[in-house]
């Protein structure tokens, strides 16, 4: 947990990761998505946007290299499109809608399912990551959240909730106090 001094330049890793993983057809737009850890929310899931801004503030305080920013999608359809194509690998949703996304039901029934791993809970909200989101980034992100937990209303470690099976492996390593994993592209 105290590996901050050894944290390499996360921006370089995010750059490499996105260059190889993003499916954005407009390569120039990557210039922005390369430089910031974007937390996606949506207008259609009202509490997600205001909370994403709190989360961004905490992450930037604990992990300034991430240069986190909020990104609000207008609709669930846009959320599914950007998340499933890995254009935006981090997503905040209410639990009900997160389940619906993973199962391709409810509000996501028309747009299809998208596989996702859990990073953290905040009362009724859940921070999801693309399964291909590197363990190292998930580890760094989880640590930043743990360190800033007091400023995050309702923050709850996934380990404190029973029957959770979809925790991101990097998050699990951070919660188990394991050392930071190496960067491996998935």
């Amino acid at each position: 947990m105290k590996n901050n001094k050894k944290i390499p330049n996360i921006i370089i890793y995010i750059f490499i990761y996105l260059i190889f993983s993003a499916h954005s057809p407009w390569g120039q737009y990557l210039a922005y998505r390369e430089q910031h850890l974007l937390i996606m929310s949506t207008r259609e899931d009202a509490p997600t946007y205001p909370y994403s801004k709190i989360l961004v503030d905490v992450i930037n305080k604990q992990l300034p290299e991430a240069s986190a920013r909020a990104a609000r999608a207008r609709t669930f359809r846009r959320v599914q499109g950007l998340f499933s194509t890995n254009q935006m690998p981090l997503l905040l949703l209410s639990k009900k809608n997160a389940k619906a996304l993973i199962r391709g039901k409810g509000v996501f029934k028309k747009f299809g399912a998208a596989d996702a791993k859990i990073i953290y809970y905040f009362d009724d909200l859940v921070l999801l990551a693309q399964p291909s989101f590197p363990d190292k980034f998930a580890w760094l992100l989880t640590n930043a959240i743990i360190k800033g937990e007091e400023e995050l209303p309702g923050a709850t470690s996934p380990l404190n909730i029973r029957k959770i099976t979809d925790i991101h492996p990097g998050t699990l390593m951070a919660l188990n106090n394991e050392k930071m994993p190496e960067l491996i592209k998935k």
Binding site: Q28, Y32, A73
Partner: protein, 418 residues
């Protein structure tokens, strides 16, 4: 008796006036209307966002018909008056640009030309201008997203994000054109691939968000040959030429039988250069009328525009002008020059006969002027330049310093009008 006659006369006269007063039942136009349905292009059978000759027509029209196209905004966004920069980050650029059509023009053949008269543009009530990260002429200077939301009427665009400024209504189709034929697809793909190999900024065919899915989607019949709509080409498309105003005629070479006319990405107003990457973007109802010029497409390199006094009407009555020459900082390579071997350029502070660097120089001075003299933020200034500053070539002979000027229409400031 006299009274009765008088009543009859008065009644007759007034009833005839009444009949004459109502003109709405008098019709002469033959209209072909292509409407919108659903929130986005993907919901709409009349919408597509790639170019290929196999995209089927959604309507047929005869020369002389009023062709009415209901168009979507350039980014197919769903932005609204309270949209913020955080919304801009979630734009899906696979959806750019949603086009309405194509419309098959009866009687038109490959090799003909199509003369398209812009009859009318009815604007939506809302429009936006954005700084899109990684896009735009000064993308190295403005890396972060920014949005200005505009309230639109036909007498001006105003915004809470640009107080004291009104942008005049000078609408035109940002994108209008005809579908390419098979030979054009092959030729354009080949030249763009060569440029991409030289690290040029090229957007090759991509299936993400591509419409129509049957032709251009992931399992589409021609997915590798559906061209992106970003670059203008010989078929027109995303020309972003503001002089193509209401009343002008645009002539396109036809590459397929029926031409495949389309339009979208309508601009409420734009400066020459559209420097931030966007104009005042809006949905609209565009009306055009077409005429076939038999055999005239064969000799055409590109579309041409024919106008009358529209170009004069757009001129400012007062202006401020900055002048740019091709100079730059030592060690600096602007994004526009990164694709070529820049080793000769990098340490020069003066380039030779380079209009792009001259334009950059003029624009940066204009932004500084707006910030220093009018109190705008740098982002507001860049946006204002995108919608109301014209980059113009001064001269291309006085080597090595060709001049580009940036001309600001000072009438946009409310304090100088009325």
């Amino acid at each position: 008796m006299f009274k009765k006659i008088l009543y009859v006369i008065v009644f007759t006269v007034f009833s005839s006036f009444y009949a004459l007063a109502d003109t709405t039942d008098q019709k002469w136009m033959k209209k072909v209307e292509v409407t919108k349905s659903g929130d986005h292009c993907v919901d709409d059978k009349n919408c597509f966002n790639r170019y290929h000759p196999k995209i089927p027509p959604v309507a047929k029209a005869n020369p002389g018909d009023m062709i009415i196209l209901h168009t979507r905004d350039a980014l197919d966004t769903g932005f609204r008056l309270d949209s913020t920069a955080d919304d801009l980050a979630t734009v899906d650029l696979g959806l750019v640009h949603p086009m309405t059509g194509p419309v098959h023009i009866n009687g038109a053949k490959r090799g003909d030309a199509l003369e398209v008269t812009v009859i009318d543009i009815a604007p939506d009530e809302y429009g936006y201008t954005v700084i899109a990260p990684g896009f735009g002429f000064l993308r190295d200077v403005f890396p972060d997203p920014y949005i200005v939301n505009w309230r639109l009427t036909r007498i001006g665009a105003v915004s809470d994000g640009m107080p004291g400024i009104t942008i005049p209504y000078e609408a035109f189709p940002g994108s209008i054109g005809v579908l390419p034929g098979e030979p054009e697809i092959k030729k354009w793909k080949s030249r763009e691939a060569a440029l991409a190999a030289a690290s040029g900024v090229v957007l090759g065919p991509s299936t993400g968000g591509a419409l129509p899915t049957k032709v251009c989607g992931e399992k589409g019949s021609h997915k590798d040959d559906c061209l992106r709509t970003i670059p203008p080409r010989e078929n027109g498309g995303n020309m972003d030429v503001q002089q193509q105003q209401i009343g002008t005629k645009i002539i396109f070479p036809c590459f397929i039988d029926g031409c495949g006319l389309f339009a979208g990405d309508i601009h409420y107003a734009q400066g020459d250069g559209e420097v931030s990457g966007t104009a005042i973007e809006m949905g609209s109802i565009l009306t055009v009328r077409v005429k076939i010029l038999a055999g005239k497409g064969k000799g055409m390199d590109m579309p041409v525009t024919i106008g009358n006094d529209q170009i004069i009407d757009m001129e400012p009555t007062r202006y401020y002008q900055t002048l740019g020459i091709p100079i730059k900082g030592k060690g600096e390579i602007p994004p526009s020059h990164k694709y070529l071997d820049s080793s000769a350029l990098v340490n020069l502070t003066n380039a030779s006969e380079d209009l792009t660097l001259s334009a950059r120089h003029a624009l940066i001075q204009m932004i500084d002027y707006l910030v220093n003299e009018h109190g705008l933020t740098k982002e507001q200034a860049y946006i204002l330049c995108s919608v109301a500053v014209d980059l113009r070539v001064g001269q291309v002979v006085d080597v090595p310093n060709f001049i580009v000027t940036a001309v600001l229409n000072m009438d946009v400031f409310d304090k100088y009008r009325n």
